[in-house]
């Protein structure tokens, strides 16, 4: 076993385990507590990076099938198996990530039974599902070879041609539909990316980048397990002598062939690069056709992203493949293919996330949990890939990696701890050790209650009246003991009797004239929402006499503008309807935010302290704005006088 793949496996296991912890937290605590997705940005990392970009990078399964089975390019037959494996794992991990993304994961099977034939996603779901099945059928002969069920494998192998054709049609269907999906948001998606050519651009770019992905995987496999066919004999790299291998030509530029496999790989890269070139041409023509250049020229940040996407995803790989020197070097080809894959991911992120941010009016940075699941799923797919490569003949008929004798049980004495370790060198030992270290770390990093923005909820208790007229109120709202005895009637009389209410009380519930503070400011430490959406839907429906099966669905337009994201920011102002029924005075303060009530502590302090500060000057009582004027229990010991001591004893 090469130590290179061992180190890689350790890293992959660590990432996959972190992803596992994150996945458990997501299932346990829900999307809201673990992700930074919102109503304004509902499509996050999992959907766009893992699903939309993930399946796009797994297209090699059908493109290589097309080259070999339809165009009869027999030289690429060697790549059919790895391409199918790539497609199988790519689609598998996309679906796994999507399972975390949907709100009710246990209902993932609903589209199988409940058909919504108007939705592009419905088509995508079915195509992905069927194509995953196709890759499974295509892959099973190579897996079953290793087991006793060889005969089933051979029988399935006979179906290969038909299955490949089905796979090609399914793939071309859903890769374009993934583009069509974004056509339903003509206003929201930024003009640089929104084009009626999206379906076409999606499938062409996916085919190019998918092939590049296969090139990358072939080179990585060679680097890990079997360098000779790609990197050439070990000596050629060291002393720079051109190695003449019988049957393999040295190219006209005088650059040595690295290995026999490189010829085939560069041919594949040329096909991929021409597809990428087609994408580039289409994009340029499309932007020119729609006159979206203006957006590019205005220096919006989207223009930079668009440029990066073109540069990394299309221009750089095309140039690297076009230059013979880099095309024939495994490193040059590796950089070209990695950059094409990264560029495709950036493109899909642009179309799926960044293109919407300007319209949504908010920004989206994926949470740590989102990254962990996203990377963890891919790491798990990587481990599965290494497993298949080592145990089935994927790249070569004889490429099943021999079992190392060192894998058997060994016993070791650890001198520092005086513990006998059995099985120290085996895989189980390494993986479990990684788990012991990584899982607790992931736990404390991702556990939602530990994350900084999580303020504990401390419900507010209503004020207690100390007499029957509630002339004096006792505020111990968090029951922590730093209470305030508030002479309500006293304050009212001093400030101007009935005309003074609005000096402290700013707003009441509709048709109420004396709503207590704690009705809206319901938490000591954090703001609480006071707008009841469901109640408003119902009220609008009844008032406007809307009818139909889902009459509340017709109420949106009464508050939200058409053609825009439905957020609280652009909804109708509360005071448009509540003109008089919530106000204590005739001149309402229209700047007030009625969707959230600030924390109770904040509300009280902001109401009392400024006024007390003013009065402290006025009545020459400098202590009037000090904490202990109201919170008598905080009085410093040297200031305690008669009446306050009595208060403390109570």
């Amino acid at each position: 076993m090469p130590s290179r793949s061992r180190a890689l496996k350790d890293v992959l296991w660590a990432l996959a385990l972190v992803g596992l912890v994150a996945g458990v937290f997501r299932m346990w605590f829900g999307l809201g507590a673990t992700t930074h997705m919102s109503d304004a940005v509902p499509w996050g990392l999992w959907k766009v990076l893992n699903m939309v970009a993930g399946v796009a990078l797994s297209t090699s399964g059908f493109t290589i099938g097309f080259l070999v089975y339809v165009l009869r390019l027999e030289q690429f037959r060697k790549y059919v198996k790895p391409a199918i494996l790539l497609a199988f794992l790519g689609y598998g991990c996309s679906m796994l990530a999507l399972l975390f993304d949907i709100g009710l994961p246990h209902r993932f099977w609903h589209p199988i039974v409940m058909w919504n034939e108007h939705s592009f996603l419905f088509e995508v779901f079915w195509c992905v599902l069927l194509y995953f099945t196709v890759t499974l059928i295509e892959l099973s002969p190579s897996v079953l070879e290793q087991t006793r069920a060889r005969r089933i494998g051979r029988w399935l192998h006979r179906l290969a041609f038909g299955v490949v054709i089905v796979g090609i049609s399914l793939s071309s269907l859903h890769h374009s539909s993934l583009g069509s999906l974004f056509l339903v948001t003509p206003v929201r998606l930024h003009e640089l990316w929104y084009t009626s050519w999206l379906p076409f651009l999606f499938i062409v770019s996916a085919m190019g980048a998918g092939m590049m992905m296969l090139v990358l995987v072939r080179i990585v496999y060679a680097r890990l397990y079997d360098p000779e066919p790609v990197f050439g004999p070990a000596s050629s790299g060291i002393n720079g002598i051109v190695c003449q291998i019988p049957g393999i030509s040295v190219d006209s530029g005088g650059v040595p062939e690295r290995g026999p496999e490189m010829v085939r790989l560069s041919k594949l890269a040329i096909i991929a690069a021409s597809l990428l070139g087609a994408t580039l041409a289409l994009k340029v023509v499309d932007v020119a056709r729609r006159g979206a250049w203006t957006g590019l020229g205005q220096g919006q940040w989207e223009a930079w992203l668009f440029g990066v996407e073109l540069l990394i995803g299309l221009a750089l790989p095309i140039v690297l493949v076009a230059i013979p020197r880099t095309r024939r070097s495994p490193y040059g080809l590796g950089v070209a293919s990695a950059s094409a894959a990264a560029g495709l991911a950036i493109n899909r992120l642009n179309v799926g996330i960044f293109g919407y941010l300007r319209d949504a009016g908010s920004f989206y940075i994926p949470s740590l949990t989102e990254w962990a699941v996203s990377v963890g799923v891919v790491a798990a797919a990587g481990l599965a890939f290494l497993f298949f490569v080592e145990n089935c003949s994927i790249f070569d008929e004889r490429s099943v990696v021999a079992r190392q004798p060192g894998e058997s049980l060994t016993v070791l004495f650890e001198r520092w701890s005086h513990v006998w370790y059995a099985a120290l060198m085996s895989g189980v030992h390494r993986v479990t050790l990684i788990a012991v270290l990584v899982i607790p770390l992931a736990w404390i990093l991702l556990y939602p209650p530990y994350s900084g923005d999580n303020i504990p909820t401390v419900p507010v208790q209503a004020a207690t009246g100390l007499d029957i007229n509630r002339a004096t109120l006792w505020l111990n709202s968090d029951r922590k003991g730093v209470e305030v005895t508030f002479a309500h009637l006293d304050h009212q009389n001093r400030l101007g009797k009935d005309s003074a209410c609005h000096l402290c009380h700013h707003v009441s519930m509709p048709n109420d004239r004396s709503t207590p503070c704690s009705r809206c400011h319901r938490d000591m430490l954090s703001a609480t929402p006071i707008f009841n959406h469901a109640h408003h839907e119902q009220a609008v429906m009844e008032k406007e006499r809307l009818s139909g099966w889902h009459a509340t669905n017709r109420t949106c337009g009464y508050c939200h503008p058409p053609g825009q994201a439905k957020t609280s920011d652009n909804a109708k102002d509360c005071f448009d309807c509540h003109k008089t029924d919530m106000w204590l005075t005739s001149a309402p303060d229209s700047t007030i935010n009625l969707s959230d009530a600030c924390a109770f502590r904040e509300a009280m302090h902001r109401t009392c302290i400024p006024c007390h500060k003013d009065k402290a000057q006025e009545v020459k009582r400098p202590n009037l704005a000090e904490c202990y004027t109201c919170h008598t229990s905080l009085t410093p010991r040297q200031l305690v006088t008669g009446p306050v001591t009595a208060n403390l004893e109570r």
């Binding site: 005086h418 099985a423 012991v436 899982i439 770390l441």
Partner: protein
């Protein structure tokens, strides 16, 4: 960060981290032991003399049958030490509150008086065991640095926990003692799966697997030498 924030951190995330390292580390020992038993012994496990193995293991739990003349005090003290070290950390009322808050497990508590007595017993037992290892020539010849270190590491949370709970014996502030208590206990949690403290679970395996956690290469000869003099060999 104030000292109270540090205490909250030590009680919250750091506790979760170290406790998980301990639990998973011990679980790992179980997995490795079981898997190595299966690969190493395989079907022979089925015909193993289970009844004798279990009886033998249990007889070491209460070490009365294995006492010889020279080891009586050592055995009794170490037995008492184990009672305190298991009961107090798990069943003290302050800890039960923490189990319930952090893990949602509800356990019956032992009384505060009993806990105090057990804690003092344990502290005394640790000191006696340390004394044996330092002054007894037999024990010293079998000990290495880690054995002393582990005893001190176990002493720390017990002593600091007792001091934090009893202001009259506390030389420092409650906060300082509490933080010492939390941090030393958490270091101990991490040490458990990677030192011979792993016998919390490995104890149940050493009789079966034949690999004894206490023994180091050549230890048999050293033990024989300590017990029976120069010429003895295992």
């Amino acid at each position: 960060m104030s000292v109270h924030d540090w205490i909250d951190f030590a009680k919250g995330p750091l506790f979760a981290f170290t406790f998980l390292v301990m639990v998973l580390g011990l679980l790992r020992h179980v997995i490795i032991q079981v898997s190595s038993l299966i690969t190493g012994k395989g079907r022979r496990l089925r015909s193993a003399p289970w009844r004798r193995i279990i009886a033998d293991a249990l007889s070491w739990v209460i070490p009365i049958r294995h006492m010889t003349r020279g080891t009586v005090i050592f055995s009794v003290v170490s037995f008492l030490f184990h009672i305190g070290i298991i009961l107090v950390p798990v069943l003290l009322i302050d800890h039960i509150v923490m189990w319930e808050e952090q893990l949602g497990i509800d356990l019956p508590a032992i009384g505060r008086g009993l806990a105090d007595v057990l804690t003092l017993f344990t502290i005394a037992a640790i000191l006696v065991l340390l004394g044996f290892r330092i002054f007894g020539s037999r024990q010293r010849s079998m000990s290495s640095r880690i054995d002393y270190l582990l005893l001190v590491m176990i002493l720390l949370p017990f002593a600091s926990g007792y001091a934090a709970g009893h202001a009259n014996v506390n030389p420092l502030s409650w906060e300082a003692m509490m933080l010492t208590h939390l941090l030393s206990a958490e270091v101990l949690f991490v040490l458990v799966p990677f030192t011979k403290l792993a016998h919390i679970v490995l104890f149940f395996f050493d009789r079966i697997s034949g690999l004894h956690w206490q023994l180091r290469p050549g230890a048999g000869d050293k033990v024989a030498h300590a017990l029976f003099g120069e010429e003895a060999k295992v």
